[in-house]
Structures are given as C-alpha cells and as structure tokens.
Assembly symmetry: C2
C-alpha cells in the first residue's frame, strides 16, 4: 500500500524532474501521473513514475521517471494472443539509467539491488544510458532498470502496452 500523500509527493517530484529535463505536460496529464509501487510498499526502492502519452492498438509512448536509486523490478513482456511480446525502446532524456537485460553479466554492476529482493533480480547484462542514448529490448527478454545518482527521465517508445500480462520475477508482484 502506498499512502495518498506519498503518491502526491511522488507526482510532485516527478514534475520537478520533468522540469529539469525540459518536458512539458498539460494540466490534465499532471493530474494523471502514475505512481507504480508494484504492490511492494517500498516506493523509494522499487517503483516507477510515468505518464502515458498514447497507447493505441499499434504503438505506445510514455515518459518514465526514476528517482535516484529507484528500481523498476525485473520483468518480461510475453506474447499476447497472436502478437509477440511488447518491444520497448528506452531513450534517456535526462540523468542516468542503469539497465539490465539477459546476456553476459557485468562482473560488478553499478546498480544496487534492492535489499531483501536479491533473489528476484537474475539478469545482469549492463547498459548505462546517458541523455541521448537509447536501447531497444527485444520481446520476451527479462529486464530491470534503476535511476542513477540524480534519477532519470526516460522516453519509452514501444508496441502496444498490455501491462496486465507482464511477468515479474518477484512472485510478490
């Protein structure tokens, strides 16, 4: 459970990071910034803030915010019906993102795995994104990501989002 006051505060911090990144939202969008705690009740450690610009049956675009050290937990996007899993391009707009996908593990990763959840993080191929840098995650690939020391603002371009089908490594999500 995340308190309503905590959601409000997270929305305000999100707007501060958007302002630093030069990103403008309408008043209507500001009201519907999503604060995702993934049911873990530890938003600072494991959470994500986002605004969905457009999610049609053909494509999706979102703006994501990670606070410093905040982690979006490991998950993958499975096929849905006839369609392959969601494909995502993450483009860093501001700050730093540490992104982890399947593949050769980095010997010493830069992110700090959320304490107590170590067993729910299993892929460690490291990609560090600075402003202007991007990475495309193929469908069905496990991934997780964390904001750097100042946090991060990340544009997500993707195929249609169907979040209810996402498979998280942590069975508590």
């Amino acid at each position: 459970m995340i308190l309503r006051s905590e959601v409000r505060r997270a929305q305000e911090r999100t707007m501060e990071l958007f302002a630093r990144a030069g990103i403008v939202l309408t008043a209507e969008e500001r009201e519907r910034i999503e604060v995702a705690g993934f049911g873990l009740g530890q938003l600072e450690a494991q959470g994500l803030e986002l605004i969905t610009y457009s999610n049609t049956d053909r494509y999706c675009a979102k703006e994501l915010v990670l606070f410093p050290g905040q982690t979006c937990p490991e998950h993958l996007h499975p096929p849905v019906g006839e369609e392959p899993g969601k494909m995502e391009t993450f483009r860093c707009r501001w700050g730093t993102v540490y992104l982890y996908v399947e593949g050769d593990a980095a010997p010493d990763i830069r992110a700090v795995i959320p304490a107590g959840s170590e067993s729910h993080y299993t892929v460690f191929h490291e990609i560090v994104l600075q402003p202007g840098e991007q990475y495309t995650i193929p469908p069905g690939t496990k991934h997780w990501f964390q904001g750097g020391p100042e946090g991060a603002v990340v544009s997500e371009f993707s195929s249609t989002s169907r979040d209810e089908f996402d498979i998280f490594t942590d069975p508590g999500i």
Copy 2:
C-alpha cells in the same frame, strides 16, 4: 535540389532548436539529421528536419523540427499490404505547430500557405499545438503542418514508417 551547404546550415539550426527544447542527441545522431526538401527546392517554405530514433516493424519514433513558417506539405499515409496506413501522434515539445487535417475548415487559418502552392493545400481543419499538447492523426487522413513564429520541435510517435508510400497532394513531390 538543396545545396550541401544549405543542408549543413539546416542541421545546425535544427540542433539550436533541439537545444532550446532540452533535447539531446548523440554525436552519431547529429550527423544523420535528415533535411527534407521534398524535391521542391524551397526548404525555408516547404521542408522538414528530423531525426529517427527508432523505426521497427512495430513502431516508430522521430523528433521533428520546423523552422518559423516552414511547412511540411499535405500528404496522407495509405494502407501498405495488409496493414492500415501509418497512424501518427504529434506531440509539441517546444514552440507552436499549426496542424491541418480533414474536417470542418477554420474560417481563417493561422498558417500561411506557401506562395505558388495554394492548390496543393486542401484540408483546413485547424489544430494548434503548444508544448505538452498532442494530436493523433488517423490512418489515411490528409494532413499538413507549419511551424509557428519561433518554429517548433515535435515528437512523432507512430506505427512503422514507410515514407516511400506517402501520397502528397502536390504532384511535383
């Protein structure tokens, strides 16, 4: 024909507008900013600058720049094979865009139709986009757009781009 020097200058102006909008490109991206004159040889009046971030078989994302008063000529995106035409969401990031689509014509439009090309502009339903505002153009709908007094930076989120199939109203394109 656009001179090589004119392309370079347009790329530089594009980078200036990106900087004002807080948009960062990599060195590699800066080198491949596209300057589209549509074969009309009057880039200032009819043209578009853009960088394609990602164009996969599932979605596409670009950043567009219009100089002050510069117009992207009227066109539509037809079906390609089994697929409906390209669907596009334009999100204004900086400046002002005057966008025209099929529908009730505005009595007095804000854009200035490029001189000598009046007959190639036929749709006048006006949408004015300021930073944070966006509009989605359905497949197969004629549209054109022009940069306001300071120009514009516009994010385009869309289904796959197959520009070679675009149908322009001007037979000279």
